[in-house]
């Protein structure tokens, strides 16, 4: 389910519109549907984001797409207080977090648009939230669980 993003986060300038590749169309279209799609390796059982030909953990070419739970833990975060590029300059300050998904091996960097900067913590539990992009695609954000 796409959730309403805070003001300033809905505009998607042309240069930010995702341009899916042969490898990662599934990720961007999944986000458009409200699903966090990642790859799982049939050989080692670990996961990865972003999509690749080979498993970055074991090197085998035995990957399948799975839908992640969307749950994860903040490994680290920062509060962006200066970014000169529109539309980010209109969003500051905002939290960007590195999230270890519950699915072993997969990590994402994503904004947490709804989180107040002083509430961000390493180790906090988060869940994926989806923000629409043009052409049925979507962005993955995170929100406090």
């Amino acid at each position: 389910m796409a959730e309403a993003a805070p003001a300033g986060w809905t505009e998607v300038p042309k240069w930010l519109v995702p341009r899916p590749t042969k490898e990662d169309r599934e990720y961007w279209e999944g986000a458009g549907r409200g699903e966090l799609r990642i790859q799982r390796c049939l050989t080692c059982g670990r996961h990865q984001h972003y999509a690749r030909m080979l498993c970055s953990h074991c090197g085998k070419q035995t990957l399948e797409w799975v839908t992640a739970s969307g749950r994860g833990t903040v490994y680290s975060f920062t509060v962006i207080r200066q970014n000169g590029v529109p539309p980010f300059n209109e969003r500051i300050p905002f939290v960007v977090a590195t999230v270890d998904l519950d699915e072993d091996g997969a990590r994402l960097i994503a904004p947490m648009p709804e989180l107040a900067p002083d509430e961000a913590r390493v180790g906090m539990r988060v869940r994926a939230a989806f923000r629409p992009a043009p052409e049925g695609l979507g962005f993955v954000d995170f929100a406090a669980e």
Binding site: S76, T78, V79, G84, V122
Partner: protein
């Protein structure tokens, strides 16, 4: 294998000089410093521009080198160049190699390197993976380093004040360098009250953006002994990478320096305790702190105490005088700083550092860090060979 010549361009602000003019100026000064002429150069290394830059530079300078190197791995490229040049001269593939870098970053592009969306990505150009995932988040270059610093604070209790102390001590060095961008003394409070750019990094935790060029010439020991200066020997070198984008940095509190350092030190037959001065790529205060630990100058997690103890161990008179020219934090940072580290370490080992001289310096380490803490390379230099 020795460093036989070093040259710095004018700086730190040179609106009348283009990038290649800064390169040419520092090249000429390094030739003069070495007592060489251009036709003595049979190897050329450079990085940081589009493809074939070192070829275009060779033409501009009127060189016909038979050894070329353009490893372009971010700010540490030049430590990689020095490592490869060292091996090439060792193998007899080249005799005398010039490593050159110059950029009018400040005059051409302003101060947006760290907060302009990560240094690129606008204008509809295709983003290389994995940046196509990170730019749309609004993460900046500073923000990537900030996340790593935040993790270190979480795991080890490192304090922002300890990071700030690195900036304060570096400014103390800059005060002695007439060509430094900022020379007025600052305090930990000044750093802490400068604006937050990306938590926990403040404006004064970030390097400056300047103009500037640098050239380092390396040659055989035999030639070094024929030339005018006290030879500065390369004693060991190693490098590596653990990731490109910050999301792929599995452990944000440990860089590839944890491998390159011990390897380079082993080749040189030294331990961290033997090092008299440290030239470290201080893109941000955290870069210095994490690499101090990775190289073994402080145990993992104790970098914060190391930098601030003893009245500041990075000062002249401290356990490890660091960035005695004022570093990237206060003196010079023209987009990439790796080559300037080799230059400052050489000045120190020759005993030519004037008011910033570390008395009796015999072993120096130059360490480059590039990208998003992505690439690391360590070069051990000494007044004696191995």
């Amino acid at each position: 294998m020795c460093i036989v010549g070093v040259g710095l361009s004018d700086g730190p602000v040179t609106p009348d000089l283009s990038a290649v003019m800064l390169e040419a100026q520092s090249f000429r000064r390094a030739l003069d410093d070495a007592g060489l002429e251009k036709d003595d150069i049979d190897g050329l290394a450079s990085a940081g521009y589009g493809g074939m830059h070192e070829v275009a530079l060779a033409e501009y300078l009127g060189l016909a080198p038979t050894w070329l190197e353009s490893s372009s791995v971010g700010g540490s490229s030049f430590e990689f160049h020095a490592m490869h040049a060292y091996r090439a001269i060792q193998n007899g593939d080249a005799d005398t190699i010039a490593i050159v870098y110059g950029n009018n970053q400040l005059s051409a592009s302003g101060r947006t390197l760290g907060t302009g969306g990560g240094g690129g990505g606008r204008g509809g150009m295709a983003l290389p993976l994995p940046m196509s995932y990170e730019f749309p988040t609004g993460l900046t270059l500073v923000g990537a380093y900030a996340m790593a610093a935040q993790r270190h604070m979480h795991e080890y209790g490192t304090k922002p004040e300890q990071l700030a102390s690195i900036s304060v001590q570096t400014r103390e060095h800059a005060a002695r360098n007439p060509n430094a961008m900022y020379r007025d003394p600052i305090t930990v409070d000044d750093v802490m009250s400068s604006r937050l750019v990306a938590d926990p990094l403040h404006k004064l935790d970030c390097c400056v953006i300047s103009d500037g060029g640098c050239c380092v010439i390396m040659s055989t020991e035999e030639r070094a002994r024929d030339l005018g200066h006290r030879p500065v020997f390369v004693r060991g070198a190693a490098g590596g990478t653990t990731h490109h984008s910050i999301a792929a940095m599995a452990d944000m509190t440990r860089t590839a320096a944890a491998v390159s350092g011990p390897k380079a030190f082993a080749e040189a037959g030294i331990t961290p305790a033997d090092v008299d001065m440290f030239a470290m790529y201080d893109s941000f205060t955290y870069t210095v702190l994490v690499v101090l630990e990775d190289l073994g100058f402080a145990p993992k997690g104790e970098g914060g105490a190391f930098v601030s103890d003893n009245g500041g161990n990075l000062r002249l008179g401290g356990a490890l005088p660091t960035n005695t020219d004022g570093g990237g934090l206060s003196a010079t940072h023209p987009g990439m700083r790796g080559l300037f580290l080799l230059c400052e370490a050489t000045r120190q080992l020759r005993g030519e550092a004037g008011a910033s001289q570390v008395p009796g310096a015999e072993i120096a380490v130059a360490h480059g860090s590039g990208g998003w803490l992505s690439t690391q390379a360590t070069v051990v230099l000494g007044t004696e060979g191995n």
